[in-house]
């Protein structure tokens, strides 16, 4: 005796089921006979030899066949219960392996592809995004004629096409510098006060120029948008971990590349890299102490001792280094924000 719910009301009807070729014949208590094509029926649940069937197109229609079910009827329905269509097709273990491989590929692509794709992003797009992101820093740029000339001179020493770069000093109390989308580089006022001289500033500036020239900024943006959005969308702990990896704005590889690039630029300009090592030393001591809320994009992740050693080693005895700027020029650059009314 099987139980039938017709999906119209909650009434429970006893029926006697029997299979005839490709139909299931239900005999109701009052003798009426109902013929159901097996193709219209689907498996809802298989449990301890009993079956629950549903009927396509009739919501709530359920037929409960108690164990033992006539093998002829039983055989018409799947024997295993689903993990989901793709996984059922592959089998659990094969699916696990396939998904693991696919996921590893997705993470790898999310992490590596931006570096490859970055050079393909048109300048105009990056420019527009850079404008949208930083705008004009609320008009907080510092500029004096003498200071501006000194800065331009420094940039020209470090880069072959200085006209493309937009290097500016911003009156914000941050001991930091940043390479931003659209070939913007900003040096914060507190950094100028902190560094020991023009050589040290030149090292930092060269590092940021290298970030711009290697398209690291664009890659970091792509990574942040790509992986970051996927992670935010899917949520969950795995997504969160992926996000935290992507949130290291520049990859460690990019930082090293920028450091090497900076050293090459300094050597070409005959500026001593050793003073820059001092800056990284000081930065290492303050590591983790400075976090600016709301300015997540601008924060960096210094790698302290290793970078200091790199710049120290780069200083060579056989090169006659010259000061990056004359004392007068340096004084003009350093006091650029000082001559400006502080907010």
């Amino acid at each position: 005796m099987a139980v039938l719910y017709d999906g119209q009301s909650g009434l429970r009807r006893d029926v006697v089921p029997a299979r005839e070729a490709d139909t299931l014949v239900l005999t109701h208590g009052d003798g009426t006979i109902e013929r159901l094509p097996l193709a219209e029926l689907f498996l809802v649940e298989r449990r301890a030899g009993a079956l629950t069937l549903g009927r396509t197109g009739l919501e709530g229609w359920r037929l409960r066949l108690p164990a033992p079910v006539d093998p002829a009827v039983d055989a018409a329905f799947p024997q295993t219960q689903g993990y989901g269509r793709w996984i059922d097709r592959l089998g659990l273990w094969a699916a696990l392996a396939a998904f693991a491989a696919a996921s590893a590929a997705v993470v790898a692509i999310g992490y590596l592809a931006p570096a490859v794709l970055a050079p393909l992003v048109p300048d105009a797009v990056e420019q527009a995004y850079g404008e949208a992101l930083v705008g004009d820093f609320g008009g907080n740029y510092c500029l004096t004629p003498a200071g501006g000339r000194a800065l331009d001179k420094l940039v020209a020493k470090l880069d072959g096409k200085p006209g493309e770069l937009k290097v500016r000093v911003v009156d914000l109390d941050l001991v930091n510098a940043a390479a931003l989308p659209g070939k913007h580089i900003v040096l914060f006022d507190a950094l100028l006060e902190k560094v020991s001289g023009p050589d040290e500033l030149a090292g930092i500036l060269a590092h940021e120029i290298a970030h711009v020239r290697e398209r690291h900024v664009t890659a970091a943006l792509l990574r942040q948008f790509g992986v970051g959005i996927i992670a935010a969308t899917l949520g969950g702990s795995v997504g969160g971990n992926v996000d935290s990896i992507a949130a290291l704005r520049f990859t460690r590889g990019a930082e090293r590349e920028a450091d090497r690039g900076a050293i090459a630029r300094l050597q070409a300009a005959r500026i001593n890299p050793a003073p820059t090592a001092r800056f990284f030393e000081a930065l290492a001591r303050a590591e983790g102490a400075v976090r600016v809320p709301g300015l997540a994009y601008l924060s960096t992740h210094p790698m302290s001792a290793e970078r200091k050693a790199l710049f120290d080693r780069a200083a060579r005895a056989d090169i006659r280094y010259q000061p990056a700027l004359s004392p007068t020029e340096w004084a003009a650059l350093k006091t650029m924000c000082g001559s400006r009314q502080r907010r």
Binding site: D14, T52, G84, S103, V107, N140, T233, V238, A296
Partner: protein, 398 residues
């Protein structure tokens, strides 16, 4: 069929339960089956028949698949889990059935994400961009507006999650549902939550109870609307205890500190100036744990009473519901969770949903009549929004 007045009383069940007496007014021709179907647990309207051994393969394969899919499988995992838990939940004479699918939950989630990702992007980048330009006021106002919108979405999500679960729950081939009104509910959620917090938190019980009623009044099963008439009776005392628990904790700390310094002085004089550092550390540790335990216990006490009130005020047709879990039961549930997770180095966490559901069903009660002739199919739309919004915010339905 008729349920006993007190659904938990097994002795009375022999007289009244489930239409054994053939003269019941609302009997229909199937009463023999009902009696037979409930012979194993007479009197309890709801019963949970699952075992952790059956659940374990589902839980562990779900965990493995969720990990290797970077979390995407969790929607299908949820569907498998619910199919099992629902099918092992018996109401009177037959099991429940979960008809929701992982695919629809995934789609619902993607739609919800499309709503809230722009908001999150604005909070992450827009506010920063404004602040960097010096438009601090605009940044603050923008952040506040977006935060309010997110709160509105959270409220709506609770409504939608409950409606979704009812609409995918089948019993005797009949499902539940709910009417429209998610956004209106979200608005109510927004201002009632705000008011609850504003007045020293005193109105939190009021906001919780009225929101519960507003939510359930829109829900239905088959042709019947739920009627929710929960009140704050008996909640205020417990809630005030929760509110003053930091003060209580501070007082407790003060008393114990005095006692400790007294002890310390005694120890000092005995041991010739040696401060009993380990003892003091143990005491400090014990105090900290004790303070958190106190606040936690009072919170549990309030929540247990809230849920008893809330579910106790629910009616559906001629059915009345009840929930019997007391503070002690909740405490044991939580301690069990903690023990399970710690004892298995975290792996046992996959059983938490199982334990929660079994706890819920074991304490859920119903009394009154179910008239099967009147229990016709729900006419509410079987909407496809699933519980995406709730999943996006990681919310529960109740």
């Amino acid at each position: 069929m008729r349920l006993p007045e007190q659904a938990i009383a097994p002795d009375r069940a022999t007289d009244h339960a489930l239409g054994r007496g053939s003269g019941e007014a609302h009997m229909n021709e199937q009463h023999h089956d009902f009696a037979a179907g409930t012979a194993d647990a007479p009197g309890e309207a709801f019963a949970f028949t699952g075992t952790w051994r059956e659940f374990a393969p589902i839980a562990f394969s779900n965990l493995a698949l969720t990990l290797v899919t970077l979390g995407i499988y969790r929607f299908w995992a949820k569907a498998r889990e619910r199919r099992y838990l629902w099918s092992r939940t018996r109401f009177i004479d037959d099991q429940l059935e979960w008809t929701g699918t992982g695919g629809e939950m995934f789609r619902g989630f993607v739609i919800a994400a499309a709503l809230f990702v722009p908001a999150l992007l604005f909070l992450q980048f827009g506010v920063e961009a404004l602040a960097v330009r010096g438009h601090l006021a605009a940044a603050a106002i923008g952040a506040a507006i977006v935060s309010l919108l997110l709160m509105l979405l959270i409220g709506s999500a609770r409504f939608l999650a409950l409606r979704y679960r009812l609409s995918r729950t089948l019993w005797h081939g009949i499902r539940g549902g709910g009417s429209t009104g998610a956004v209106a509910y979200g608005m109510a959620y927004l201002w009632k939550t705000a008011i609850g917090i504003l007045v020293l938190g005193l109105l939190v019980p009021w906001s919780m109870v009225t929101l519960w009623n507003a939510r359930w009044d829109k829900m239905s099963f088959g042709p019947h609307r739920f009627q929710a008439s929960a009140s704050t009776d008996g909640l205020m005392g417990r809630w005030i205890l929760v509110l003053v628990s930091p003060v209580l904790a501070a007082m407790l700390l003060g008393i114990l500190t005095v006692a400790a310094s007294a002890l310390g002085m005694v120890a000092q004089s005995d041991l010739g100036g040696v401060v009993p550092a380990p003892a003091m550390i143990m005491l400090a540790l014990g105090l900290t744990v004790g303070v958190y335990a106190l606040i936690g216990l009072l919170g549990i006490g309030y929540f247990a009473a809230f849920l008893r009130n809330a579910i106790g005020g629910l009616e559906l047709g001629e059915l009345r519901f009840g929930f019997s879990a007391r503070s002690r039961d909740w405490l044991l549930l939580f301690l069990g969770h903690v023990g399970l997770v710690i004892g298995t180095l975290g792996l046992g966490a996959v059983f938490i949903s199982y334990r929660n559901w079994s706890f819920f069903v074991r304490h859920l009660q119903a009394s009154g009549d179910v008239v099967l002739d009147d229990l016709t199919q729900s006419s509410e739309a079987r909407r496809g929004d699933a519980e995406g919004l709730a999943a996006a915010f990681d919310l529960g339905a109740i």
